[in-house]
């Protein structure tokens, strides 16, 4: 991946840079255009910091009308556009292109409507995920999806990536919690999908938009549903001598009809790193540590804790602690939440992967990872959204050692291939972006990818919006549209009979 091939910059666009900057400044007056190199530095990378590229120019619109004008302007002139929210993407979804306008949505930062009667919030896309909860928590409500970057990541970016979080097994992903969006197409047209009602009719364009990684349109307004906060939450901290036992415990909990609010697993290296960092009181002798959080009315939580405890014992747990106070619950979580920085302390750099697997394959995948770890000579620590099979292996490496980043990336790619091989997928919540782009053929045939690209053609026929992301090889829409079967030319001498 380090030798990442991005679309060839368009020389004509590069040569017209001054004119483009001036035109954009007319569309977004004031301080809405950033073209000085030192000021553009802040935008040259997102959460995937191994990749950097200065954009052609940065534009920060404030209104939907401005977004529409910018996109129309660029569409008519064949100028590429890369949209960006808070820039927290872990897959390089907001990586700039040398010849592309970087469209930064951070000034769309207002909450437009809080509607308790209809239990929804209407927000501009630059509002942070946590900002929505903050706006309604005084009244006892919250927005359920909680990606770990929630303090910084924007709700518009959440729509682009279909963000999850530790609570999504029970409460769903972004796609299940967004009711509507206003968006601008590359040709400048403004469309509304959904609203405060459920299930917009016609094709589920909202479903397609969610997780489309900024390739189909630019979201300018988001309506999300909000929920009443559960009355209480308690957690169990359960240690197992083997990951198999931990995995079986997870399966048995779900088999018993229990869907916990959160269910997280860590492996031995992750447990040790976290414990060294925050002293959460994690048992250090176990191979797998499970945090199970149950939320709801106290009587339900107490009832379920009893059931989960019994299941854990049946599966040979060596420790099982149950939080008795909010403080203790948060301490259980402290290690898990600090797992990434904790790993960052024991290694100069780490590379965070994001595959999903059928849960039962966990022991096999962990074993495969151990083998790969030896083969590549790099350590790996694992945190795992155990309820939904979303695995985050953290590969430890040192970017200052020549060739080590490439080695870490090759290791990561092998892990993802393994995930696909056991029936899983390349990415559970971080997105394909540029990072996993070239691995897409591991999961999809050319026919599958072609059909996805045709969807892109319906939204952006000239491939101007965020090109170089998601698809390993962009094919022209005219070529994709060509039919392989033609009327009259008979692949079928007869009507098929069956």
């Amino acid at each position: 991946m380090s030798g990442l091939a991005m679309p060839k910059p368009d020389a004509a666009t590069l040569s017209r840079r001054a004119e483009i900057v001036a035109d954009l400044a007319r569309i977004v007056p004031g301080e809405g255009v950033v073209d000085a190199v030192n000021e553009m530095r802040a935008f040259e990378s997102d959460g995937l910091t191994a990749y950097r590229q200065l954009p052609l120019v940065v534009v920060l619109p404030e209104t939907t009308a401005q977004v529409s004008k910018i996109l129309k302007y660029c569409d008519e002139r064949g100028i590429r556009v890369v949209p960006r929210g808070s820039g927290t993407s872990l897959s390089g979804g907001a990586l700039p292109l040398e010849d592309a306008v970087l469209l930064v949505m951070s000034r769309f930062n207002a909450i437009l409507d809080i509607d308790f009667m209809n239990r929804c919030v209407v927000a501009q896309p630059g509002v942070t995920n946590l900002g929505i909860t903050r706006a309604v928590e005084e009244d006892g409500f919250y927005y359920a999806p909680d990606p770990s970057s929630q303090i910084a990541c924007s709700i518009g970016g959440n729509v682009a990536e279909n963000s999850g979080g530790v609570h999504c097994l029970k409460y769903g992903l972004t796609a299940n919690n967004v009711l509507g969006v206003e968006m601008v197409l590359m040709n400048g047209e403004v469309v509304r999908l959904g609203g405060k009602h459920l299930d917009a009719e016609g094709y589920d364009l909202l479903g397609i938009m969610t997780g489309s990684e900024g390739l189909l349109g630019v979201v300018t307004e988001v309506t999300v549903r909000i929920l009443r906060k559960p009355e209480t939450a308690r957690a169990l901290l359960i240690g197992f001598p083997t990951s198999e036992q931990g995995g079986q415990c997870v399966a048995d909990i779900i088999g018993a009809g229990i869907i916990p609010g959160g269910m997280e697993m860590m492996d031995r290296p992750a447990i040790h790193a976290a414990e060294d960092f925050v002293q959460a009181g994690y048992p250090l002798e176990c191979e797998a540590l499970l945090i199970v959080e149950l939320d709801g009315p106290g009587v339900e939580v107490d009832h379920l804790i009893g059931l989960v405890e019994a299941i854990a014992l049946r599966n040979g747990s060596t420790t099982c602690r149950i939080s008795t106070s909010e403080e203790e619950r948060l301490r259980f979580w402290a290690g898990r939440k600090a797992a990434f920085p904790a790993v960052g302390r024991i290694s100069p750099d780490y590379y965070c992967m994001d595959g999903t697997i059928p849960r039962k394959e966990l022991p096999r995948v962990l074993a495969g990872m151990r083998e790969l770890s030896q083969q590549y000579g790099l350590r790996v620590a694992n945190v795992f959204h155990a309820g939904d099979g979303n695995l985050h292996p953290l590969i430890l490496y040192d970017a200052n050692l020549p060739g080590e980043l490439e080695k870490a990336e090759a290791f990561g790619a092998d892990i993802l291939r393994l995930c696909v091989k056991v029936g899983g997928v390349l990415t559970g919540e971080h997105g394909v972006g540029v990072e996993k782009r070239d691995l897409m053929p591991e999961m999809f045939s050319q026919a599958d990818l072609d059909q996805q690209m045709r969807v892109k053609c319906a939204f952006d026929p000239n491939h101007l919006l965020n090109p170089g992301k998601v698809f390993p090889q962009l094919r022209r829409c005219a070529e994709l549209g060509r039919m392989h079967i033609h009327a009259g030319k008979m692949p079928f001498p007869d009507i098929p009979r069956f």
Binding site: N176, D204, E300, G389, T427, E429, V432
Partner: protein
Amino acid sequence: MTTFTPTSAEEVLSAVQWAVSESAPLEILGHGSKRGIGRPPQTGHALDLSSLTGVTLYEPEELVLSARAGTPLAEIENLLAQNGQELAFEPMDYGPLLGGQQGRGTIGGALSANLSGPRRIKAGAARDHILGITAVSGRGEAFKAGGRVVKNVTGYDLSKAMAGSWGTLAAVTDVTFKVLPGAETETTLVLSGLLDDAAVAAMAVAMGSSAEVSGAAHLPETASARIDGLPKGAATVLRVEGFGPSVAYRINHLKQAFGLGAEAVTISAEASKRLWRAIRDCAPFADGTEKPVWRVSMAPNEAHRLVMALRMQTAADAFYDWAGGLAWLRMEHESEAELLRGLVKKLGGGYATLVRASAPQRAANAVFEPQPAALAALSARLKAEFDPQNILNPGRMG
């Protein structure tokens, strides 16, 4: 007229390829249980997927089930029930409303119509539970999308694109759904005698409480009288599902919120299930007639205003699901689409679908809510990318 009845995905591919090469439009069918919804198709041939059956994967502990698209929904629901699981989106059965049999319909049809039920407000619709598909596009090409795991953002979510597409984008051959544990028990609290606006306010209180209400419907007096087991008069019903002790606690919580004591009416277990099945399947209007029935989705606090505004101009029988956000309307007159949709627009938007009407009425009216120009153009482009020759269910959504 040729009817293809493929028994494998390969045969579906052959049939669609034949249709493409002959420019011969196909009606895509499962059991035909929802055939009465949408514009009558303009096709000379049919692709009947009801023989493409069988559950191909079911792993209860992984919460996942895969099946061929023509597998009967009833068969899948039975299999899940044997393992204490269910399709949490509670797919409605249009049979009784459309004058057909009960218990028909395929899993592919459930996806294509994006079915849901009263639990939509908590658990979502078919779109929220589909994990992956394989399908044959109107280009005569097989493709897959999604996978078998819940958390997956690899590529565009073309599985969701099939939800509510009524077979106009691709002939789906295989589906993979997320399944969930069914509730141990359920209880419904009945609030009696509320007028529509008071009922909607009460449902907002219930939905905004921590009682985790999984069904909130209001049946005005006439609708209530057509459902067995409800006390006389208007009934606002609130369903709570889950583990026994939790259900009891949360029902109590709701009673307190409404200042109700021992006199409060509750309906439990099987009787509650029957009640919600009746609401789900629009039983109050399953009257064996072809009187127009509309399904209107709006912001929860707006649908009752729509009904009041409508009644100033015409006769409309109504009841509400989704905490007020779904209004079922039975009209006395045909051709009131413009009036109805004008009011929906005026009251904050949403959509109105003509789910029951005579074939001539369905041919003459836009069954689905007409879209603004830019959105309609985008939808048309999407259709063309999947089905450039308009081979699959042409005109059905038109």
